[in-house]
């Protein structure tokens, strides 16, 4: 009967209660959305590269090597020679390797020289491979494959000619050797989307007339001649390595780090990603802080609403007391109300969250490369909800205790 009457009481204040439930639901939804985005961003970030056991580059910090080799942010401190690279991949522990050569750009997008192994070996999001959506692989020396982001932003299609610029912010172009888009990759949500991929030989070819970072004045080698030249790479920027057995990773890493011919660094991508996430994790903490503040504000809002209704409900409480309800029952009624409001808010917020995610998921994935999974509530969410219900019931104790004193002191004299 108490539950029925509490529902009746809430129903009688449908507009106020409805607005309260809606406000709390919005706050809870905001919290859950932030949480969802936070975890999805983390997953997308740490899934940028997977199944690669080691990344090898010139001696540098692990975060920097990860940044330039995987995220194409910043520059390599140095290149590594092809001989050193060959020494590394000749080790019996190495199962496969993908050489990467960086340094040039096209309209702000990084140009990466590599070989066809890249398309086979580079994995993201727990083992997905990059796939060609249109066109063909790098068959000709002057073929490029562009990421989905490049194609979209520059409005390129298969066959579009393009010129590679020297360096990252250089005004000198390799305009004597134009390239042609041979293929466009499907969207990955990783930095590959914003990368222009050419062959290692192409990187050598465009630098034929260049020496120590500058064009040799007056020297223009005809393209036909370049095609006949030995364009085997002399340097690369980094290499992705896969090992035969996971047990050999540390052994190989130590060998590379102690390689006597050249100063090399080898890093475990997973560890470096975690390290990098800790740096950008400040934002994560900020988001978490905002979420918690939102919940806290919501609880205070709910208390204020219960408080404001308290005076007008003093008569109602006197009736309950006259019928024999103890002050504890009066407290219980208000807590029950807060409980019902919080449960209804949780249900509504969950429905709104799923609806929003369902509508916005493709847009978030396309725009930010963050795949937000629409999945059932996790155990953690259930805990959060339970905590919220407990907190809401506890916070409602504040007006409930006030009602308790009203009901004790009012007796039959209600001063309204």
């Amino acid at each position: 009967m108490l539950l029925k009457l509490t529902f009746n009481s809430l129903y009688a204040r449908l507009l106020t209660v409805g607005m309260t439930v809606f406000a709390i639901s919005l706050s809870l939804m905001l919290y859950m959305s932030v949480e969802k985005l936070r975890t999805s961003a983390y997953t997308s970030f740490t899934d940028t590269i997977s199944q690669t056991d080691l990344i090898v580059g010139a001696r540098t910090s692990s975060v920097q090597l990860l940044l330039y080799s995987v995220f194409r942010i910043g520059n390599a401190t140095n290149n590594i020679t092809w001989e050193s690279y060959e020494d590394v991949i000749d080790k019996k522990e190495v199962a496969w390797s993908v050489p990467i050569s960086l340094g040039d750009s096209h309209k702000g997008f990084r140009v990466m020289g590599t070989n066809n192994e890249f398309f086979k070996r580079y994995k993201f999001r727990g083992g997905q491979s990059v796939e060609l959506e249109q066109g063909n692989s790098l068959d000709d020396l002057y073929d490029v494959i562009i990421g989905a982001g490049v194609a979209e932003k520059l409005n390129y299609s298969v066959g579009t000619p393009l010129i590679v610029s020297h360096g990252l912010q250089s005004f000198s172009d390799h305009d004597d050797q134009p390239f042609r888009v041979s293929g466009i990759l499907a969207k990955t949500g990783t930095p590959v989307d914003n990368t222009v991929i050419v062959s290692l030989e192409a990187i050598e070819a465009i630098h034929v007339d260049w020496s120590t970072g500058a064009k040799i004045p007056g020297q223009i080698t005809p393209v036909e001649e370049i095609r006949q030249m030995d364009l085997s790479p002399k340097n690369i920027t980094a290499a992705l390595i896969g090992v035969n057995s996971k047990l050999q990773i540390f052994q190989l890493q130590r060998w590379i780090n102690e390689y006597p011919e050249e100063s090399l660094s080898s890093i475990l991508p997973g560890v470096a990603l975690q390290e990098l996430w800790r740096i950008v994790g400040v934002v994560e903490n900020l988001l978490l802080g905002i979420s918690v503040t939102v919940i806290f504000t919501t609880l205070i809002g709910m208390t204020a609403i219960i408080f404001s209704s308290l005076n007008e409900r003093r008569r109602e409480m006197a009736i309950w007391r006259a019928m024999g309800a103890s002050p504890k029952v009066v407290i219980g009624l208000l807590m029950l109300e807060a409980f019902i409001i919080s449960v209804m808010s949780i249900i509504l917020s969950t429905l709104m969250l799923f609806l929003t995610l369902y509508v916005l998921q493709p847009w978030i994935d396309n725009t930010y490369g963050i795949l937000v999974n629409i999945e059932m509530l996790a155990v953690k969410d259930i805990y959060i909800f339970m905590l919220f219900i407990i907190a809401a019931s506890l916070v409602s104790l504040i007006p409930a205790i006030r009602a308790y004193w009203f009901s004790i002191n009012d007796g039959m004299t209600i001063k309204i």
Binding site: L2, A325, G411, M412
Partner: protein, 233 residues
Amino acid sequence: MEKSNLNEKTIQINSVKFHWSNKSKFKLHIPELSIDKGEKVLLLGESGSGKTTLLSLICGFLTPLSGKIQLNEKLINDLSATKRDQYRSDNIGIIFQQFNLLPYANVIDNILLPLYFSKLRSANVSDQRETAISICQSLRLPEDIVNMKASELSVGQQQRVAVARALIGNPPLVIADEPTSSLDTDAQNIFLDLMFSQVANSNSTLLMVSHDKSLSSNFDRVIDMKNVSVKEQ
């Protein structure tokens, strides 16, 4: 008028003193007051004379600073707050001046509410719904009123529903705090007649508070606050 149990006391008050901690000027001292079982008593008094405070003491909402309050020969001011609440629920039907009903609940739920808190009164009612409907009919309320929301009733209807609620389960004592003050004279008389007949049916004692002396002739006895309380400053 014939009394059912002339010597049995429903209310017995001895040397009761009370004052509000924050109202230093108001002090209530009742040396002696008793009401017999089945009596219909009108408690008269001006505003501020302590009528409602006395009712709150009898109902167990308040406890006296000293003295004894006995209901059905049970000393209630020594009971714990919880037991006083239970005792009130089991033994007293209360009718307020106005706004007696939970506005969001329907009439039947309002009437049956005391039975939820009192097993004793609940045990006196075999079919709760039928009994509620029957009392409503005796109070000349429309048959379909039990399913209506309390907020949809007229003031007079609300007061009669409050009588039905106070009487369900036959509590030994019915306390009414100026229940007719919001009714016009005709409605007052009809209301009192109906209330008296129902109180008599359930063999309850009635203690009604009013400041309207013209109602005196309807009661077995009239008690004036001036005569039972001692002025203390």
